[in-house]
């Protein structure tokens, strides 16, 4: 990361053409380095969009909550705690897998990565159970604003998670087919970061539900 964007903006002088670095027009636009950087930038941009979407829902949540007296806190089904644990563990597994790959331990990578994928599926199953339990207790999407937001936020998160699982599953398949060459490293990293992001968002949502119902 020779010249950063900030020094680029501040300096405004093109760096000598030989330096390799971040953006700034000094890299090789066609090279693999540029491809990797672009993928990571793309991911960051995607995360920014997701954050904005959850931020929009959250601000609607607080506005709506303060608005009138029909808000009845939704009781959190206990299974959500299990789900939280599973998702955090899954995030951990992904990180172990990524590190294993970077130090060339393919077998360990496969184990950790598939474990993470399965845990992701378990989380989704667990979320489904949580929705079922809430329904059984008489809480539906339209029951009251709190339950509305609960379902909207958890479903939005689940849709994101489906995307994440597809990415993880794709890597699993590539790994099984022994196609995880250096070119796929970026895909591995990007999927892993996205997965961590989903765990972080989930922890945020749990805090939201816990403290503000």
């Amino acid at each position: 990361m020779g010249t950063s964007i900030t020094s680029d903006i501040a300096g405004g002088v093109a760096p000598p053409p030989t330096t390799q670095g971040f953006g700034g027009g000094d890299g090789e636009p066609g090279g693999r380095g540029a491809h990797r950087r672009a993928s990571i930038t793309g991911l960051m941009v995607l995360l920014a969009a997701s954050v904005m979407m959850f931020a929009a829902f959250s601000s609607a949540f607080f506005v709506r909550r303060g608005l009138s007296n029909d808000w009845v806190d939704t009781p959190l089904p206990g299974i959500l705690w299990v789900n939280t644990g599973v998702l955090v563990a899954s995030s951990l597994m992904i990180e172990l897998a990524r590190r294993a790959l970077h130090s060339g331990k393919r077998a360990a990578f496969n184990r950790y990565w598939s474990a993470a994928t399965i845990m992701g599926l378990l989380f989704l199953g667990g979320q489904y159970l949580a929705w079922q339990q809430l329904n059984a207790a008489g809480y539906y999407l339209a029951t009251n604003p709190s339950s509305s937001f609960f379902f909207v936020l958890t479903c939005t998160h689940a849709v994101h998670l489906l995307g994440g699982i597809s990415a993880l599953g794709y890597i699993d398949v590539q790994a099984l087919l022994l196609r995880l060459g250096p070119g796929k490293r970026t895909a591995v990293d990007v999927s892993a970061y996205f997965w961590h992001f989903l765990a972080a968002i989930w922890i945020y949502l749990m805090a939201l539900f816990l403290f503000w119902g």
Binding site: T3, I5, D8, I9, G11, G12, V13, A14, P15, P17, F22, G23, G24, G25, D26, G27, E28, P29, G30, G31, R32, A34, H35, R37, A38, S39, T41, G42, V45, L46, A48, A49, S50, M52, M53, A55, A56, F57, S59, A60, V63, R64, L67, S68, N69, D70, W71, L141, A142, P145, S148, V152, T156, G183
Partner: protein, 583 residues
Amino acid sequence: MSSPVVAAHGAPKGFIRRYIFSLDHKVIGIQYYFLAVFSVFLGMALSVLMRFHLVYPDAKVSLFEKLWPTGAPGGIMTPELYLSLMTMHGTIMVFFVLTTAPQSGFGNYFLPIQIGAEDMAFPVLNMLSFWTTFLALVVMVAAFFVPGGAPLSGWTAYPPLSAVGQLSGPGEGLGQTFWIISIAIFCGASLMGAINFIATTIDLRARGLSLMRMPLTCWSWLVTAILGLLGFAVLLAAGVLLLLDRLAGTSFFLPAGLLVNDQILNHKGGSPLLWQHLFWFFGHPEVYIAILPGMGVASQLLSTFSRKPIFGYRAMVYAILGIGFLGFFVWGHHMFMSGMNPYSAFAFSVLTMSIGVPSAIKTFNWIGTLWGGRIRFTTAMLFALGFVSLFVTGGISGIFLGQPALDLYFHDTYFVVGHFHMIMGVAAIFGMFAGTFYWFPKVTGRFMNETLGKIHFYLTFLGVYAIFTPMHYLGISGNPRRYADFTNFDFLGKLLPIHTFMTHAAFFTAAVQLIFVFNLFWSIKKGKPAPMNPWDATTLEWTVPSPPPHDNFAGKHPVVNHGPYEYSVPGAARDFIMQSDPA
């Protein structure tokens, strides 16, 4: 040198891969452009119908009855039909024209070439984003054909009207549902586009092309993408909530005890203002999404055709960034009438005024660029000058609207309609015309016809001022907006001749656009052949053949040694130095 970013796709052979599901940013840019051309004519046709109805509300037109059997029984347009035309006009223009052509159309085609890349960073995503936009357009147009027809709630879709369903009017059933779904799809498409624009600009620039050597077009595309990214994510969230209010019985936006057509609704506790906040948090940045690319094109052209460097390049960049940043803090100026706390109104007003500063910087720099230049009055340049004129005219009325005390009066009058048509409607469209005339030789290898172009420019320029200037006067006189018929109000009686004049001006201006259409298609085949760099311009797209080859630079990687606006440099051999000329 291997280049996986783009070598991911070599030049495709079959027709379908080449022209339909193409991964080539240039083809995708053209696809976006023509999607917008289709939309702009659809939107214009709707506006002509609206203007017709406003001055001849009792006219019996059998065509109307054929098109809308329930909307125009006996050939007379109902107010509901009028509102549905208005909604679709605004929606199609804002989303499928102003958000689509300047950014996704021109940007897709020229951003990669101007920064010396072989393609966008993610070509497959790029293709997906075009076809998703296309799907959104199909769903939007389909709203005309569902039972009840198109929705009535305007491009801003304010609840309760947009949330209570069929009960509140014919188009508010399936039509409104289609509208929301279409916009949600459009949000997805725009997010994909934004990811591509941002990653491409940050990571794929050619050697030597530092950010501060980027043409202002690239800067404006970058900032527009960031605005789209943050704005459309919020609109998507809002759309989901609105859809749930309609279909799932939730109460995000609907208050208790709502009485619609003699029926009390079941909802309780929600607030329509919540929608307004979410919508305008997107909506204000959206107006800059529409105008920023036009500003980029205007800057580019004013410099090129004045044979002078852009005045204050750095200030221009900071102004673009400033406008983009401030644009997220002013949404409340659309809600002065909502009963907001006067202190908040004051804060929003001050922030709104502060956007005037970077806007004025841009305007002065454009004039500074022209000052003392050896101006070449090509059609492209005329449209760029027209852009500046319209931007100033529209911006000045914005200063009035930004004062809460004045806006309480102006809100929901024709003054607002005049304001946003000048600045967003016409200025942005002039930016598109300018870009079309300027880049046509690169895309096709031929010029557009200059004589036809100039006739089209002058007639359009007169036409749009004739349509939209009187609107300010109407607004000051208290003429409300979003009404289908003004003939039954005593206090508006004196204003009717002005309406008649505007309607005739609208017919005239719409007819004049046929000159452009003819010129566009005729020149593709018959235009005068153009050399590689017909305007003596400096940026990288003028270093490659017209049209550019599949990977733009034929496998070579351009190296940039110069800034984008080195015109009339003392001591240089020619009056311009290209960005890729030796240092």
